[in-house]
Symmetry: C2
């Protein structure tokens, strides 16, 4: 048909917006470039599933847990002093909180803040209607179809930063994308922060495995952004976990306080596998998460009033047959909607986990569980979605193939979150009057005017007719993803970093390393 | 750990509810049997993304399309007469409708009705908060991992009925699950309806490919349910498609009227690939769908006031590079939310399409696109979700492996749609008081009381640790699904059907067949 040919010709050389055009050409096909943005501003409401009465019950349960059971703060006497001064009841390591106390403290935390990137075009607003996709975090292993599962190395770590930087659908470079196991444990944070700053120009996350590593992560950011700027602006995030149930370890609270002290944003995340670290029933696990997270968020405000902080969520379930943790299952997916409602009632930015799965391969299971989990994160109103790309094997492995599949799905979500625009152009009355009953819309004015920005277009999923797909080699999505990440790495071009800054970062890193013997655990 | 062992032992022999228990033993592992129900009553709200103002704009656009462009009704003079008598403007084949006219006519259609199954335990309520999962519909090809893609046969057709009947997570036997291409075209409806009635005891759909085939489908239902019962109750559905844009073909309207005349429910479904059969912009395609569907639904009421009818939705997009239809993409997924809102404003039951994909394999793409599409269907409030299981290859192939994967996901959605229950038990305050900070919940009273009904448990997805998965053969989900459908077919037991009824059905079928020469197109 003539009109299809017209569309094809035009689509073969789509006009690209200035921003992103150069990257697009460098890194192979970028379809739907009009959707590429530094971060998404959602144009659909959040999916609120509980009414006021039930939310109040959960909040009341959290208040009872905080007041009657309390939270232990281990190995951090300063935290205990801060709680004592704030009026909490401290007995030994156990801290108990009068109902309402933490909510009052949390009023000083900002509802939204900017994380600055070293390329200001990649600054992200965290809070409100913003949605930011960041890679998965924390796997000891990496996987690809050629070499299978193996421990991650600093080369893998850099590769994932490069893949993220090359994707127009991620907005943030993440943190411990995989553990670089070939680097001594006590020096990893230096290499990781340096790699983020060197190979990406987006926002990133620093170390939380000790107070000094957190501080050194922030120090490296100060080299790039300047000390005064960092004191006034958020340039680095630190992701700290509750030792659920109801325990904050000193390693985490010391790191949390280091970030807050520097006016940088801690992300406060419980880790609740229902039935193990919390009740098997969703409402109880949610109440617990609320209590644990409020306590962590409030501690940032006691350390430095007004410091940015992010309310984190990591609900999960477990297999009742094996006791294994499960990921991407329905209960955490629906439970996250409630966490979102609760975070908004606290007026805090929300972090959720994205593309969760327990699959060991980038297969149907991986994307079934991952897609359900990722949609839950965008529906619940998460502003910062960690684990958006690469997660396999119950967070034990980063997968190269899954990374690019997930990044492609993040692209699709750019269109999804744009919602349904209703205006004269989108209602297209003139097109109906032009085309009439029983004719096609392929060549009509309205189609020609709108088709380039009409639909998301994937680079991984195959939409060809069966015969064309067969002739092209009958590939599955994983095979196409394998080719895609290799091409992206081959095409990667590092964002410019001025030599003096680079040198200063390397000097800092080398000095710190020279002062430490290698530690491997 | 002792407590995990306790859980494992108990979970190995879960108590099963009486209902479903026998089937469960017959058909292999049914995990989470407490979730199995004849149909789901949703316990979460619909996901409403547009406000009143924008909905009114879309409704006004639909009204303008109906009034100013109109809809052609081809090859059905009776339909034109009905429209004329109802006050529409009929000029040749073109029918135009004053704003509000169709809404007024639609007031006689029931907001909800029961489709009776031959086993009353499998009756489904269609409307309100009900959610019913039915298999995919209409593929000429079938696929499995062993034999690849081939034309469907009556044996495949029966196999899919058996797989559906064996799944505790589907609620309806569907209709043309695949085309039985080895049966002459003019006799297929007889074999298909007979197979549904013989191998399943759930609700099903009849033929719509001609008025007489529709009537014969209904006649066969009358043999099972009795003529009077059928005149008063819905026992069969007929799925009729608009020839979008804005054309109703006589084949469809004659079938539609046959179902309505018999007080059976027609499902009225536009087929809009944005940019081809409708505008490339979502709002316009939605307005068109609303207009086309209202017209079809209203025609059922002109044929028989009060007949049950279902508002159908089938939005899709197309690849701008190849012109191919695409499935499981973000624009139809988000657009369906709006269709749901519009259907509820008409107070009509809603049908959506479920597990859409263009993938040619049961791979990551299939479940990425399928999961997004399926979640869209459950979020938008669809009561009857066709294409819930088996869909591959852009509706050209039914896949055995995808069928059981999708059915498993339907199971997960039973837990998802149960939402978050908030009550004293689920809030688990006593458990927190019992366990305290820093201990685990594995063996506590609350866990022991609730764990068997706490979480969905899959039969396809793998939740074992990597090493166990590796030792078990490193299977992907498709390989496990391949073993699963074979086991399900091997274990299948037909539901009882009394011999006299069976004989009467066979007699009817043989008589009709004997009166026709084979037609192959």
């Amino acid at each position: 048909m003539d009109s299809i040919e017209v569309l094809e010709d035009a689509a073969a050389a789509p006009r690209r917006r200035e921003r992103g055009g150069r990257e697009a050409r460098r890194n192979g096909p970028v379809t739907a470039p009009h959707l590429s943005v530094p971060y998404i501003v959602r144009n659909i409401p959040t999916y609120d599933i509980l009414g006021e009465e039930n939310l109040l019950k959960i909040e009341a349960a959290a208040d009872r847990i905080l007041a009657e059971v309390g939270i232990e703060f281990r190995d951090d006497p300063v935290a205990l002093d801060l709680w004592n001064a704030a009026g909490a009841t401290v007995e030994g390591l156990l801290v108990r909180f009068e109902p309402g106390m933490l909510r009052e403290i949390l009023k000083s935390a900002p509802a939204s803040f900017t994380q600055h990137a070293r390329n200001p075009a990649h600054n992200v607003e965290i809070g409100g209607k913003s949605v930011i996709f960041a890679p998965a975090y924390g796997s000891p292993f990496v996987m690809d179809l050629d070499r299978g599962r193996r421990y991650g190395t600093i080369e893998d770590f850099r590769n994932f930063i490069k893949l993220g930087q090359s994707s127009p659908w991620l907005h943030h470079s993440g943190g411990t994308i995989c553990e670089p196991v070939d680097v001594p444990v006590n020096k990893r944070h230096l290499e990781m922060v340096y790699s983020h700053l060197k190979y990406s120009d987006r926002g990133f996350m620093g170390s939380v495995t000790s107070e000094s590593r957190a501080e050194e992560s922030i120090d490296m950011a100060r080299i790039v952004f300047g000390r005064d700027f960092v004191d006034r602006n958020c340039v680095i995030l630190g992701n700290v976990n509750v030792n659920s149930p109801l325990v904050w370890d000193g390693t985490m609270t010391n790191a949390l306080r280091a970030y807050a002290r520097a006016n940088q944003a801690a992300v406060i995340v419980p880790f609740i596998l229902g039935g193990a670290m919390g009740p098997v029933t969703n409402a109880g696990a949610i109440a617990q998460a609320l209590g644990e997270t409020m306590a962590g968020c409030a501690l940032t405000q006691l350390e430095r009033k007004g410091a940015p902080v992010i309310f984190g969520n990591f609900l999960s379930s477990m297999s009742l047959r094996s006791g294994s943790p499960t990921f991407g299952t329905p209960e955490p997916a629906i439970g996250s909607m409630v966490i979102g409602q609760l975070a908004r009632r606290l007026n805090l930015p929300l972090r959720c986990a994205g593309n969760f799965t327990n699959s060991k391969l980038p297969d149907a299971q991986a994307m079934n569980e991952g897609t359900m989990s990722m949609l839950s994160a965008v529906h619940c109103g998460a502003n910062f979605i960690l684990h958006s790309a690469g997660f396999l094997d119950g967070l034990l492995s980063m997968s190269y193939e899954k990374f690019v599949m997930d990044a492609d799905f993040c692209g699709a979500l750019h269109s999804y979150l744009a919602g349904v625009v209703v205006d004269d152009n989108s209602l297209a009355i003139d097109a109906f009057l032009e085309v009439g009953a029983g004719k096609h819309f392929l060549g009509c004015d309205h189609t020609m005017k709108n088709y380039q920005t009409a639909f998301w277009d994937t680079t991984i999923n195959d939409n060809e007719p069966f015969e064309k797909w067969e002739a092209a080699g009958r590939t599955d999505a994983a095979t196409r993803a394998n080719a895609r990440w290799k091409q992206m790495l081959a095409d990667y071009v590092a964002p410019p970093l001025d030599v003096a800054t680079d040198d200063a970062l390397v000097d800092f890193m080398e000095q710190k390393k020279a002062a430490m013997a290698d530690a491997w655990y």
